[in-house]
């Protein structure tokens, strides 16, 4: 049933549920076929004198739970995880891998750095542990879903099970997608601009010296490569934020590039920071900090961990946004 008004009909919601549970390759064709079928069956009921809403309801109830309908349409072979949970499973595993593995790798790097391991050893333990964690993560998640798929009906009230009546009210609601607002674009740009301004202005910062001559905070030697490189990344981040805003949806691509840019910024900065090569020795001398002292080293590592954790949270938020917008876009129930 086409829906010229903006209120989504039960049919729209049914088609959305169908789309969400169908693999991308077959999504469009299955959805179109189901749409045709629903419309034809509603027409037949209208011809028999049913009221429009009652006809729609009766047709959808006869179609039954979308998950079961799709299983029949796709004629799936025997499987570990059925259509009801497959897409949830796939999304969850992806999301977990994307969030947990970088955290693990990051933690290994920090631990290796604190223990003073050579860089090769740190990279080796990052890769090894990430693979192990990834395998465990996939295995246990899959096991839980496989059990849920087989026995979930017996555990729950089981509105999806065969013997109870499926109700169209169980269909997902169609909500307008949460788009990136002009405010979040503004705050993102403001933050990036502030960071860039700090990187440039710290060069002329006079407060550390007693006599008003500027003492740069960051080692001025870094103007050779690091500082221009960081400013470039900040510029790229601004461009990405604008592009995301103009697209009016957060995509996996944008979230991935954002993660790369964050890593490209933080990894060299944190590495130099932990090696004591980031800050200008003259600045340390001027403010009376012993860069080699244990306290300063410990504080430095804690600050590094906090910076890394904030960056990971930020990356996770972006991925979540991409996931939400992707979900809102699936189906396009028109």
């Amino acid at each position: 049933m086409t829906n010229p008004s903006s209120t989504p009909t039960l049919t729209d919601r049914y088609l959305l549920a169908v789309a969400r549970q169908t693999p991308e390759a077959q999504r469009a064709s299955v959805q179109a076929e189901v749409r045709e079928r629903i419309a034809d069956e509603i027409d037949a009921r209208l011809a028999d004198g049913d009221a429009p809403e009652a006809a729609e309801r009766a047709v959808l109830i006869a179609l039954g739970d979308p998950a079961r309908l799709i299983a029949a349409y796709l004629d799936r072979p025997s499987r570990l995880i059925g259509p009801r949970y497959y897409f949830t499973w796939r999304r969850l595993v992806r999301l977990l891998l994307v969030i947990v593995l970088p955290c693990v790798a990051f933690a290994m790097a920090i631990a290796g750095g604190v223990n003073g391991q050579p860089i090769g050893g740190i990279i080796g333990s990052m890769i090894g542990t990430s693979i192990m964690v990834g395998v465990h993560l996939c295995f246990w998640t899959t096991l839980v879903f496989a059990l849920l798929d087989r026995y979930g009906d017996r555990l729950s009230e089981g509105h999806l099970s065969e013997d109870t009546t499926w109700d169209p009210e169980h269909l997902p609601r169609i909500e307008p997608a949460a788009r990136m607002s002009i405010w979040s674009l503004g705050s993102a740009i403001l933050w990036l601009a502030a960071l860039a301004a700090f990187l440039v202005l710290q060069q002329f910062e006079p407060w550390a010296s007693g006599d008003g001559t500027p003492v740069p905070i960051v080692d001025p030697a870094h103007w050779g490569f690091l500082l221009p490189y960081l400013l470039g990344i900040l510029a790229a981040s601004v461009a990405l934020a604008v592009a995301t805003y103009l697209q009016r949806r957060r995509t996996w691509w944008a979230a991935g590039i954002h993660a790369l840019l964050s890593a490209a910024f933080l990894v060299p900065v944190l590495w130099l920071w932990t090696q004591g090569l980031l800050v200008n020795p003259a600045f340390n001398a001027a403010v009376g900090v012993d860069a080699a002292g244990d306290t300063v080293r410990t504080v430095g590592i804690v600050l590094g961990i906090i910076a890394g954790a904030v960056a990971l949270l930020d990356i996770a938020a972006e991925l979540r946004g991409a996931w939400q917008d992707g979900r809102a876009d699936v189906g396009g129930a028109s």
Partner: protein, 110 residues
């Protein structure tokens, strides 16, 4: 014998004949609901939940071809029996007649 088990046997007996009926009927292109009605008119009671997925499957197996017709108010998918479908129909039909013949002879007890 309960009605339910009898129904089960009936369904099993009919399953293959639905494929045959579709292949024959779709020598003239038709869409899902029209086919359902037509088969119904010929005394073939087919459940929509069986027919629609079956059409899709036959198409994937190459026995039917399909085309979206967008000329009318709503787009509809029109199926048509392919050359391979014709061959399958001939094979099935021959076998159907042979079986029916065999059954008759078994009944006659000769």
């Amino acid at each position: 014998m309960s009605d339910e088990t009898a129904d089960g046997h009936l369904q099993e007996l009919r399953r293959g004949t639905i494929v045959l009926a579709c292949l024959i009927r779709l020598r003239q292109p038709g869409y899902g609901y029209a086919l359902l009605e037509a088969l119904d008119g010929f005394g073939f009671k087919v459940d929509a939940n069986t027919l629609y997925p079956l059409l899709r499957r036959l198409e994937q197996q190459g026995y039917l071809t399909s085309e979206w017709n967008t000329e009318e108010s709503r787009p509809r998918k029109f199926y048509r029996t392919s050359a391979a479908g014709e061959q399958l129909a001939a094979t099935l039909l021959t076998d159907w007649e042979r079986l029916s013949d065999s059954l008759r002879r078994i009944q006659d007890g000769s």
